[in-house]
Amino acid sequence: MAVRHTIVGIGSPHELEDALRAAYYLADEELSTAAYLALALGKPLLLEGAPGVGKTEAAKAIAGVLGRTLLRLQCYEGIDATSALYEWNFPRQMLALRQEGAYGGHVDIYRDEFLIERPMLACLRRPQETVLLIDEIDRSDHEFEAFLLEFLSDFQISIPERGPIRAYERPVVILTSNRTRELHEALRRRCVYHWIDYPTPEREMRIIMMRASGVSERAARAVVTAVGRLRREPLAKLPGIAEAVEWAEAATLLNEQGARWPEAFRRSLGVVLKDEDDLVHIAPRIDAILAEAQA
């Protein structure tokens, strides 16, 4: 196993945590350890967690820290190799053939210029400049998951017309999943794993203060308390960190325009709960929750 102790000057989980904080991402020790190990061991990093806990943000922050471009591959039901790997540009091949054919010349139609790179191929070809994010892998089919297995273990793909393409260095790959279904054991095994949970109140508070602009500490604390309460309710969609940040911002905005505090929170409830049934469910208790949060 090829182990690198330092990557772009980062030699320990703590250094990575500091670097991530500089990139406006607050990682806890578990996450920074997992991310550091993934980088050091050259394994993909699998992040799982409820929607809105900052999985994709983590990937963006890691790419920022490494100073690499993020290639994002959004998975969906029915995603296949042509949208993930590469495709030949048939119209251009045709044109080139017609043009050369007219002069009786010979043309190699499998040159780079006819190859349309998709994220996975781009990542293999330029591993030092890119971070590949395979987002919401639980949405893809089992076939695609099996196809990923091959890619993630060898970091190699083969194009029939060109032969295998192999990364000269293990690329940084981050996978995220909302856990709407369980991933295959073989895929989990190849990755360094981290489950991102909802943050502790103190950490969420720091995140809001860092991410939201012009939110007072009091408002942030109230939002954290109220969101914490909401997460204990049996809602269809629990509010994530992004929602908490937006709520703090929205309520602050309304407050600046003259709405009083509990009213500002209540009127901006739509940025936290985005489901009619949830709103109906919480309506009778929202005043009590807000009062408790304000205290």
Binding site: M1, A40, R181, R189, V192
Partner: protein
Amino acid sequence: MTDTARPITLFLAFTALLRRAGFAVAPEQTVAWLASIELLGPRSIDDIRRAAHATIGPPPERFAEFDALFDAHFLGAIVPGSEGEPSEEQPPRAAEDSSIGPEPLFGEETRESGAKATTAERLSARRFAPGDEGETLRRFARALPARLPRRRGYRWRSARTGPGTDARRMFRDALRHAGEFISLRHRQRRLRQRRIVVLIDVSGSMKERTQAHLAFAHALVRAADAVEVFTIGTRLTRISRPLRLRSREQALANASLVVADWDGGTRIGDALNAFLAVPRFAALARGAAIVVLSDGLERGDPSVMADAVARFARLAWKIIWLTPLAADPAFEARTAGLVAARPYLDKLADGGSIDSICANVLDMARERAA
């Protein structure tokens, strides 16, 4: 070499312990773990623990168990009641599910139609029950994918024959072959699996069977794509999400934590109406195959139940009612609720044993709705 040997055996013993406890640990994960420990220093026991979390990656719902094993192994703490959880393959030991209480093993009640079962039969059923159960469900899960109810979807797929030509595919192929159209492609509607909605009666009268029904629901959820499971009793609870876990024991334990009205009264009509009143749930029933596991002993107003079943029948593709009472060949719908609801059901059949439930569900796609 010799001075490093001891810690390594200590770590390897831990992975062996994990495997015995039913965690899947591959050799490459062990190697990655050892490499990580070296990478991190390790400065403290927490480094070793975090490295284990990251490289071995226990599923989140088993974190507590994982940490308890870790503490027991490395810190010498005492593990609360774990002498190796059985893995999925082993026959499940009931009575471990705390919240269900001292319920009999599942399968125990198989083939006892009413009070006629003799003691001898009862004993033999008891002896064979647990293994039988798991085996039946495994066979069911294997047979299911081919026999799921399906409907025509909205998306097209390319095919050799079909009602229309697949122009897009043909042009794409033509580009590949220097602009020549070589073959005629057709397209067909893609088949999609119909959603299956399972309603499990958890009232007192079904007490003996709920455990087996949950095990069946778990097998169904694991084997098919779109399955929703609800329990009905005095209220309605959605348990599709907890049942999605791979390990049956874990899934059943989680599901039983969610349900609050075990062994209560029966107000099936009200529970069904509650289901239909939530638009999101009612949408689940549209075009779905609905399986009700209940004896239909309604304490509330039978006409409410009949109306609710009628509304279900109009929404759903098919609705089958499996009652344990029908295990008796001389069975007829006699309770007021079931008599009133009978005309709207596509099928009222035996749900007395896991075998018959599985058989009825497998047959669902074959017989067209009457």
